[in-house]
Amino acid sequence: MPVISVNLQEFVKFVGTDLSITEIAEALPMLGVAWEGYHDGEFSVEVFPNRPDMLSVEGLARAFSSFIGVRPGLRRFEVESPGGRVTRVEGKVSPIRPYIGMAVILDFPMEENALLSMMQLQEKLHITHCRRRRKASIGIYDLDTIVFPITYTTKPVDFRFRPLEWDSKITLRDILLKHPKGIEYAYILEGLDRYPILLDNNGTVLSMPPIINSEDTKVTLNTTNLLIDVTGTHLKTVLEVLNIVTSSIAERGGRIGAVRILYPNKELVTPDMNPRSMVLNIKYATKLLGIDLTVKDVKMHLRKMGYEVEGKGNCDEVEVLIPCYRTDIMHQIDLVEDIAIAYGYGNFEPELPSISTIGEEDDIEKFSHVLRDLMVGFNMQEVITFYLSNEDKLFRRMEVPAEPLVKTANPKTEEYTVLRTWLLPSLMEVLSRNQHNEYPQRIFEVDDVVILDEKTDTGARTERKLAAAVCHADTGFHEIKGLVESFLKNIGIRGYKFEELEKGCFITGRAAKVLVEQDEIGYFGEIHPKVLENWGLKMPVSAMEFSVNKIYRYVKEI
């Protein structure tokens, strides 16, 4: 989740009241951001993905200022009509990146902090709400370098212009191959032979969305009029992002102006910064929160969260006006949560309801508990190992043939390419890593493995297994056989028999499988020296593994 850094002085200025860093650190988390720390005049907070409007110092301060009661209520934004500001969208962009929205900010009080804040807001929005620029991307330009009408079109790969941070004109192809931003975002335009381009009436390139702006239209400390564009694949997101960026920048001053967007078959005037409205049922809110609230309370709390409430005649419902930058309000439950935040999570009295139900444990879990107690009684140490493994550990080192199993498609490390199908390899790994510790070593694990199974809805089933291993200079077949016999006797398995077992991990003639009614419930034996060598072990190991699910079935039958 995105972390933004905030200049303390700027923040205090925008909040509009004097605040100490301790007060901010205490209060901000209660608005719903995670405090990360303060250093050298800047603090950093983690902003949750539902509040992209707080990804800038201006937006965060706006929300906080309402929250602490300095500037409660709805922010209204006046938008001047587009006049001659027109952008034509050509049909060619529609299969690639069909949507665009624009706004201008006139007479903007430019300063260094404003420039830095704009950059941070763009960067953080690009990662989050814009889904790494695929869904939407933002461009900000010096409006005075641009002549309307603007055209949103596509150009072939050998079209040239001078991108930001580059000292000459290069082709679009080269931008994707050589420019750092081109390399980073080329994946969005993969497989295309024409790329999106914004041009003004003189043919000056504004940008190549969603990759890079041109040097010709760059915003500098001398810029006083700004043009903002957002292009993307999802109209709702494009317009939301435009509102967030425009409203954030406008917190610093200047006048917002609209742009007329002419699509091939429709016309849109952006930005639309009018509030939305939503009906809130007061009873719904109070019942869910478990507190009593009057219409007046609701109004006060919602104003602290930047809303306006238009009282209806009756007291059951109110109409709530939602500011244009709040993109996360989908359902009245979202308003209820904001009431709770304004009320203060710390002010709710926790209460246990009297709901009498009977606790009930899963059968296999209950049985596993019994088995672990028994193993501990055998003076064994439980280990807990990972379900994720790899074929080298599960098969090659164990000298057994590979079998089909659950494979991960995208592991970050070679360690985790499959889900384990048996436990013994996990125990061997534990022993191999404990050679500096005192012997004898007696370990066990009762936990899950995952087996492919076409009969289930997910194509695999989880199975509970038990495995144990004993490692010291004198261990061998007889020790583990004794353990197995005692184990079976104590859990009440009768009528089992042992049959010779050929399995690569055991020494031939020193391994057996355990059968109940011809059904193999487990096996045990003395680990083959080749396997010990594969794990780098210098001590003999004897081991057993059982299917807990199978054992449980037979135990229940008795």
């Binding site: 209660m30 405090w35 949750f48 993905p49 509040r51 989050t128 889904r131 869904k135 019942k287 869910l288 929160l289 507190i291 989908m330 359902h331 439950i333 979202d334 209820v336 949560e337 709770a340 935040i341 999570y345 710390g346 009295e349 926790p350 209460e351 246990l352 309801p353 709901i355 139900t357 009977i358 606790g359 009930e360 444990e361 879990e365 672990r372 003076n379 439980e382 280990v383 807990i384 379900y387 994720l388 089909p404 659950v406 494979k407 991960t408 498609a409 592991p411 970050k412 490390t413 985790y416 889900l419 890593r433 404990n434 510790n437 005192e438 070593q441 007696r442 809805d457 997910t458 194509g459």
Partner: protein, 483 residues
Amino acid sequence: MGDSTTFEIAQKIGVKRDAIEVASLWAAEKGLVTIHTESRMLAELTKEGWDTLNNGLPERRLQHILEKGPINISKLKKRLERLDIAIGWARRRGWIIIEGDSVQLTEKGFKEISIELPEEQIIKNAATAPVPITKENKRVIDELVRRKILRLHTEKKKILSLTEKGREVATKVGVSVEVSKLTPELIVSGKWRDVVLTPYDISVKAPTIYPGKKHFMRQVIDYIRRIWLDMGFKEMKGPILDVAFWVFDALYQPQDHPARDLADTFYAETPSHGELPSPEIVDAVRMTHEDGWTTGSTGWGYKWDENEARKCVLRTHTTSLSARTLAKLRDDIENGNIPAKYFSVGRVFRNETLTWKNLAEFYQTDGIVVGNVSFRHLLGYLKEFYNKLGIRKCRFRPAYFPYTEMSVEIEVFDERKGVWVELGGAGIFRPEVVKPLLGKDIPVLAWGPGLERTVMNRYNIEDIRILYMNDLEILRSARLWIG
């Protein structure tokens, strides 16, 4: 009674060696014993020596690599640390020749692959007990000391032998009536009445005993299971490998949500896709994502893709079980099955590389309460749960999860660092989650905190990897969890 060292005597009768030495001086003065001192040099493994024991001598490792054929020096550098030492020794032993950049085994080098060197014999012996220096092994040991594999230390021994006079006195005073070990014989014969059982020095070190024990994480898991069971929660169980539908879609996570990225979630190659539940549920989920369906929500506003929902993933949270449980409750919601309370404790997965603060798999405990419940009740359950875990100073702060609203993060105050630490998330399931699954919009309290953070706070563990390292020394000595 023959010659004994002071050390042997101290061990035999269980008193401190110092005491024996003082006593022996006194006895020598009286002419009862003679004392002579011997010292000898012992060689023991250094840290590097232990490494060598596990990995082999550098030249041996080089020999094994070259066994398959000649290799370029630059390639060797990547495969073997301290290559220069390995090459030096291998050359000295006549195992290798270097031609240009290529290193290869000589005939001798091949022949001696499985012949144990005297050095290796000594390293092995030193692993069990320090090796005394003899005429035969001195050369080899000196060499290994130079190679920093062994280090020397001196052991001093005082050997006592009874004089003629001493022997006489011993017989007269009847030393033999003092016995150290109470035997079955002494008990049965009643002879124990005639002897004095030697008083022991109770400060003498006793042998270390390791109990059979559950892993400390298991103790916490069991304890947490008890908390839920005591509070009347029923256990939920379900697949580790699940379809994305239950892990994400049913929990109202849009299909382009960053949590669903390959970078965060393990997708399965085999099996790649699974089956979805009944069309009734799937359609309700689809429509809720697209336009809110009848939940009163706007929905996410995109085209929902069934194929994306069928992808198999390693569950990223056990909240998938809560979603499955709600869908199961749907059929008999009218039969008095509500209110209902469920819990689970299980393994969850994130596509991470292991670091001191990240694991690829860890534990989560989920709970849901379905019924006429409120936000205050949610806080009530959480407070109770953390109280039972011994955490008193905690606070609730607003949080965000796509499937809950209100969303809460429980934080505990870390006194040492003076900061609030996140313990786990909770909330009330959104109507967009509940209605498609349950068929009705009923409040469902839900939580899913991880366990590791709580355990690490309690045991002051900074590196999360220690929890599942299974180091027997740590497991054997870890204090039991009492709650």
